[in-house]
């Protein structure tokens, strides 16, 4: 993502020239055309090469081939636009196209990957069934099973949001309290030390009978999984605040409340965000396990259900969307952080 940003920013910064990786802009249309050609080839292999005779014929093969044609067509369009903007991009769209050129190797690799996948599964049937399915099987799931998939993702996201919010808020509050108050630290620190390293999933058997519903048990587990790293990192952030910051505020007439909310918390924010990031990862893991073992909806449940019916296409389809959603959530967290911590130097780009 940052690579694209940089590439898109370059033309403006250099007054119109585009020295990405030493490539001249004149080769741009050619590179896009090459990628388009490979996507056409992928489509041709999918549509024209008959499925292996020794197995069932796959559904939605035609639709998948059409999708590949659309992708190839878009690349042809991009190639034409790229030829038109040569030598210097002027508008936003043109800069975007120039920026896209950095992704051409990926576009080519994807086309080859899809073609190879298609051949190994549907066309030659070389991979053991039912564990391996061709790409059109995923498309089939998206086209035919989307209502259920959508329901599951909505359920998962609701559960995740509830648990993560509870865990993060409690984590920040506990972390600040431990870092601030000696008395709280005395009582909470040993508990945190004992329980913190325990994986939240270890509580699963207890949680499911201790809580009235499996849903509330899962909220507890997700909150626990995300709350522990947030607590520890917030605490370490507050404990590490330069004591001179407090001296300054105290001589200027700050109340203890001001010292906590306007000095300790903002100073600890970089640490808090590391904790939030770690907690988010942990909460994904707990979410899926909780849904596989107790909750009767959500992505975890969907994966389990798909495996039970040997519907591996459904599983891959769900995994793919899940990867996109998880990555999207992490990106969102980093965006929020970038906005809140703009005052920091040298931040990691996601």
């Amino acid at each position: 993502m940052s690579l694209n940003d940089t590439a898109a920013a370059l033309p403006a910064a250099n007054g119109g020239t585009l020295p990405i990786g030493g490539l001249l802009p004149s080769s741009l249309p050619l590179r896009f055309s090459a990628a388009a050609l490979l996507w056409f080839a992928a489509s041709g292999v999918t549509a024209l090469w008959p499925d292996a005779a020794d197995a069932q014929e796959w559904e939605r093969t035609g639709e998948f081939a059409s999708l590949l044609v659309v992708a190839a067509g878009l690349l042809v369009l991009t190639a034409l636009l790229a030829a038109a903007i040569h030598p210097a991009p002027r508008s936003r769209l043109e800069s975007a196209i120039a920026g896209l050129s950095a992704s051409v190797p990926w576009l080519i690799a994807l086309a080859l990957g899809v073609t190879g996948w298609e051949i190994l599964t549907a066309k030659l049937n070389l991979l053991p069934r039912p564990f391996f399915v061709p790409p059109q099987a995923l498309l089939e799931v998206y086209l035919d099973d989307w209502p259920r998939l959508l329901d599951c993702f909505a359920a998962s996201l609701t559960l995740l949001a509830t648990g993560y919010t509870v865990g993060s808020v409690l984590g920040v509050v506990t972390g600040v309290a431990i870092g601030w108050s000696r008395a709280v630290g005395y009582w909470v620190h040993p508990v945190l030390r004992l329980i913190g390293p325990l994986p939240a999933t270890a509580w699963l058997p207890i949680a499911f009978f201790a809580f009235p519903t499996s849903w509330s048990a899962s909220v507890f587990l997700i909150a626990l999984a995300s709350g522990v790293p947030v607590t520890v990192l917030t605490w370490s952030g507050v404990a590490g605040v330069n004591s001179a910051y407090y001296d300054i505020a105290r001589t200027l007439g700050a109340s203890p409340r001001f010292l906590v909310l306007k000095v300790a918390v903002p100073a600890a924010m970089p640490h808090v965000f590391v904790g939030l990031f770690m907690g988010l990862g942990a909460s994904f893991a707990v979410l899926v396990v909780a849904e596989m073992l107790g909750v009767k909806s959500g992505v975890g449940w969907y994966l389990q259900w798909a495996q039970g019916w040997a519907a591996y296409g459904n599983m891959y389809a769900a995994l793919l969307v899940m990867a996109l959603v998880c990555s999207g959530l992490v990106t969102l967290l980093f965006r929020v952080r970038d906005r809140l911590l703009a005052w920091q130097k040298g931040m990691l780009k996601w």
């Binding site: 910051y245 001296d247 300054i248 105290r250 001589t251 200027l252 007439g253 306007k262 903002p266």
Partner: protein, 264 residues
């Protein structure tokens, strides 16, 4: 607080009287008490600028922390305008050697700190611009501390103090980390600020020339635990000249007091 009623007077305040009465102080170090101040007796009159000079680590900065009210003295007491100091107060503001600006706040929001902490931001917010102008930082309101040079950071720290109209400005080696040229320039600026306002100043420094160039009185301390070795009045008009033979003579005397006469 009284000074704040008059809203148009950034840097106009009546100086405070500070009375340090036989103050001794010690820290706990590895379970044993470490004495740092020993029977310090010092009276600072309103509007004076008193420099505290002494060997490194002798306890001068500790005395400043006690005057600021950040810690209570182990023995003795300190009076501000005749009343014992029990804690920090915005009428007594400290500028430390490190600017310690909050990196997450812009220059303007850093300067606003004192007003914000006391809930005066809405009614007194306009004083921030005056304080920034006073230290020559107008136009840098929106900068973040990491974008400032050392000298500019220290100016911002000064504005953060001055916006509160302190009656006592406590300067703990405020120029100690600046390069020598910036330092000379800011010595003059600090003197101008002090002369144009009227606060009482307490300045800890290692630099004999700085003390003599700026202060009305120089207090020379012994090594730890700090005792007052000499109380020298620097009776020269402002603006002073670094080549002034009277200052040179005083410098010689101070070096003698500090046991460095052979370097003359």
């Amino acid at each position: 607080m009284v000074a704040l009623e008059n809203t148009d007077t950034v840097g106009q305040s009546a100086g405070m009287t500070i009375d340090v009465q036989t103050v001794s102080h010690s820290f706990e170090l590895h379970g044993a008490p470490l004495p740092v101040l020993d029977g310090v007796e010092l009276r600072v009159e309103p509007g004076e600028l008193v420099a505290l000079l002494g060997p490194s680590g002798c306890g001068k900065s500790t005395l400043l922390r006690l005057v600021a009210g950040l810690e209570p003295p182990s023995r003795g007491r300190i009076l501000a305008d005749g009343r014992p100091i029990t804690g920090p107060d915005p009428s007594r503001v400290v500028v430390f050697q490190d600017p310690t600006l909050y990196p997450w706040r812009t220059v303007r929001d850093n300067v606003a700190l004192g007003l914000e902490a006391r809930g005066l931001l809405r009614s007194q917010g306009h004083r921030i611009d005056k304080a920034l102008a006073l230290v020559g930082l107008a136009g840098f309101e929106k900068a973040y501390p990491h974008q400032l040079s050392g000298g500019m950071s220290q100016r911002a720290a000064l504005a953060r103090a001055l916006v509160n109209d302190p009656r006592l400005l406590i300067l703990d080696e405020p120029l100690g980390k600046l390069d020598s040229l910036t330092r000379l320039a800011m010595q003059s600026e600090l003197v101008d600020l002090w002369r144009n306002t009227g606060f009482t100043g307490l300045l800890v420094t290692h630099d004999i020339e700085e003390a003599l160039f700026m202060a009305t009185r120089v207090i020379v301390f012994s090594g730890r635990p700090a005792r007052i070795k000499a109380d020298l009045s620097v009776d020269r008009p402002y603006p002073r000249h670094r080549g002034d033979p009277v200052l040179t003579e005083l410098r010689h005397r101070i070096l003698e007091l500090l046991g460095l006469a052979e370097t003359w």
